[in-house]
Symmetry: C2
């Protein structure tokens, strides 16, 4: 797993660097390029783009050809973090162990950097050198999962849960949008790049729901029990903002049991594939017990 | 011209309504849908999507088939206005005669509504039922023109012109990004939908530069001489923010002469088309003398 993850990550870092404009202080729009590069090239875990490459390979495709899809998903993820950290949203100063984008470049430039990365994500997905119908399908999956019926919708629910709706169902709807949608896009876009059949896309979706929910609930557990230094961001943020999450609703032990149960569902979904699922199995297990 | 504009506008309004989710207070993400609908369906002039339809028709295509392209451009335009009006950007309270998005829905929801519209723009362009290669090319044009090398780059220059660079050249670079890029996308995407040849795309680009620059400079003239009531937004905004524009650099008379000269360039570009250019000619002339 470690070797495969290293290989995927190296390919992803190289490709992300390639798709972004180089820093160039002579151009008049240098600041927005700098701000985009700052957040995208800061060494995240690259889980989503790894999922894209892994599912492409699992479905018999060449992961190299899925790099535009993989990088597009990471760009969408990064833009959402930049906008999410802004003062009018979650107002977080730290991200991935470094000052948030708006703390370095100002709120105006952070807003534009997010807009620029979201746009660049589509430019990148469209640059894939594969069957045009697969390009369109991949870009459609990304748009649907990132938009108001997916990630943006989840963030909307997040902002409005302060309005008194503290049910587990609302929390799940929120996380299906905020977290699962983009992970689902990552997995399904990998399948799409390889020309997978409908059954494979559905199994990938099921795997994504499992690890996505597990990932989010583990996030809530770490927000209470985790180490701010290791996480590279402030902990207790939800508590401070009096936000409801799985831990405040269920307590940390029962929340972690839910993590394990969703992870088991993800592992089960992998049985629908005939290829080597070792990497994706290990990734699901690692996420369930991650400390950062 | 009036009849054609009416027909185009009706088709555009119908299509915009169709591409957006219906308002539904039962869904948990109702607010972001409402906020997206508020700004997109408020009756703008729809100049950009009309350009897409007109160029499609001029190149022998069926404008009906170009509606996804046209609406996508209008969505990008609208998202940029929402983000641009936010307090961390231009901090404008009024837009198109109504309170700006963030004044109605709050800054957080305005940010998400903009993100949602930008994403929906790509979902929409990808839904076009034409040759897949044309779909990809159209979406690529949109991404390139809307991104950091286009519109977002222009807005970055706008934010940074406060840093002391008051040259005409910088102003032109800014407007090429802020205004011309998306108008160029609108025109070229119309050509693309119709399967136009390279020469037609280049002529459309030249027309777009002409009317785009004329449009922007006329905007600056109206910001000084215009009627806030007619415009539906506050005038004197650039003055108040001590921003440089064509009028502060050249004075209103010389600025208007530049409007006429760019308009003449646009009209010249239309000579490269064999079809009926009456609508596009009239549009260029109208924009040069518009009061709103």
């Amino acid at each position: 797993m470690k070797n495969k993850a290293d290989a995927y990550q190296k390919a992803i870092e190289r490709a992300l660097e390639k798709y972004l404009p180089l820093p160039d202080q002579k151009v008049l729009h240098a600041s927005v390029i700098d701000a985009m590069r700052y957040s995208l090239l800061c060494g995240g875990k690259r889980i989503r783009p790894m999922l894209t490459l892994a599912f492409c390979e699992l479905c018999g495709g060449d992961p190299e050809q899925a790099l535009p899809f993989a990088c597009a998903v990471e760009m969408v993820h990064t833009y959402s973090l930049i906008h999410d950290d802004m003062p009018c949203m979650d107002n977080d100063d730290m991200r991935r162990g470094k000052p948030a984008n708006h703390k370095v470049y100002g709120e105006d430039m952070a807003l534009l950097a997010g807009d620029g990365l979201l746009t660049k994500a589509f430019e990148t997905v469209l640059s894939a050198e594969i069957d045009p119908l697969r390009v369109i399908q991949g870009a459609q999956i990304l748009a649907e999962c990132a938009g108001a019926e997916g990630m943006v919708g989840g963030q909307c629910i997040d902002l409005r849960t302060g309005d008194g709706d503290h049910s587990l169902q609302t929390l799940q709807m929120m996380d299906m949008g905020k977290t699962v949608a983009l992970i689902s896009a990552a997995c399904r876009m990998g399948c799409t790049a390889a020309g997978a059949v409908q059954e494979q896309l559905q199994a990938a979706e099921k795997y994504a729901s499992g690890i996505g929910m597990a990932f989010q609930i583990r996030d809530d557990v770490l927000d209470v029990l985790g180490d701010a230094g290791k996480l590279g961001k402030n902990t207790g943020a939800d508590c401070k903002q009096e936000k409801v999450n799985y831990v405040t609703l269920l307590g940390p032990q029962r929340a972690q049991i839910l993590v394990e149960s969703y992870t088991a569902e993800a592992l089960e979904a992998l049985q629908n594939f005939s290829g080597d699922t070792a990497f994706l199995k290990e990734l699901a297990r690692t996420l369930a017990g991650r400390e950062t």
